[in-house]
Amino acid sequence: MLEVRNLSVRYGAYTALHGVNLTVNDGEIVVLLGANGAGKSSLFKTLSGLQRPSGGDAVYNGQPLTLGRPERCVALGVSQCPEGRMLFPQLSVEKNLRLGAYLHRRDSAGNQAELERIYALFPILHDKRADPAGSLSGGQQQMVAIGRALMARPKVLLLDEPSLGLAPLVVDQVFAAVQRVNEAGVSVLLAEQNAFAALGIAHRAYVMEGGHVTIEGSRDELLHDDRVRSAYLGV
């Protein structure tokens, strides 16, 4: 279980997160909705160790995640597919994916199997495996980023706007893939603008505004919440 407790993040004088609380239970897909700048990415970066919080903490199964040390977070089983992808553009697609399994680098058989699973999930990556990641289109790069995060064999997968810039068909594929990953026992925390698709696969959801969590509830509760319907579903 991933627990975020009273987490705050500041960038200089600007506070991006004001004491956020949320939980992701084992096996759940939890969606985080929020406008631009609501603080979703800040939360994700803190959970994956890229950003140190200014207050509060987050623990995964009792172990702290908020030390600003990504390698520890990955080792604990929390792995992020970041906004902006952060690929290694001149390395081949396959090397990118393999580096995702950096912490498992001694288990080459396991990595091979994992790699195959990812190629099955995104067949186009198999075709492009020898190409430099930077030469792929935006959508294809997004797939590499998700694949790379999965290569770490996470127990909790943090996905920051995976559908950004993707074609509807691919969005479907990505969400279907997320679901499959989840069914295999991985918890997922998903930040999305594409509220429909996200809520479609979610168990629970939170809405963030201006660095605060303002609404939380099950998928159906949120689908029928008026505020959510007007602001995020455009209804």
């Binding site: 935006g138 294809q140 950004l164 810039g165």
Partner: protein, 274 residues
Amino acid sequence: MLAFDDLGIRFGGNQAVQGVTGSIRPGVITAIIGPNGAGKSTFFNLLSGFYKPTSGKITFEGQDITKLPTHEVVALGVARTFQTTTIYKELSVLENAVLGHRVRTTSGLWDALLGTGRERREGRASEAAAMEALRRVGLETQAHTLAGSLTQEAQKRVSIALALATNPKVLLLDEPAAGINPEETVGLTRTIRELAAGGLTVVLIEHKMSMIMTLADHIMVLHHGQKIAEGTPQQVSRDPAVVEAYLGGHAAPHVREELKADLLGSAEVEGQHA
């Protein structure tokens, strides 16, 4: 007005755009859709003179612009925005738009050094043109804010204002609504429609089908660098090749009038088979 014939470009072994022939008709909103990597952005880069095609030819109002450098293409009246919001974040909103108008001014280093009348005249004209562009995208009140401090959506508007300040005849928008929420998307859609109504020819790339379907008069579909379909939204969304390559399950509901209700419905349908 903007016509392209057998247009193609290859990067090393990768034929990103291939044999695309057609034209953009004046005064209408044309949308370009297609899967990721289909070559849409590359196609824009070709039209705007940013990349030089390895085959084919582009004409604008009858003039061959295939080999013209970007800034001359802009001078003829073709402006574009980038897929990634690209603006001068450290400059004010107004200054961004002023830079867009630079292509219509001629004062250079000597004017600057000597402080000529032309310099002063053009400086004033630029600011006026910039304000006008900001007004068209609804940012006139933010003119003196630092562009980088605006919201994502406002930054998209700044990038459009920058393009508008070049006094274009054709405006190429690459995913103007990416990364902004549905509420804001509606506002942006309205802005784009107003621009078109003002006589501007708009071409846009988008993945947000709701937006495309409400906005576009004409759609062109790219796949693997080639044009696989073209027509009105209704025609395209029923085209089996397009459905297979791009729309998937999203094809049916995206018909204008039924849009809102069906969208919610589709989410729930998806939720059920989860």
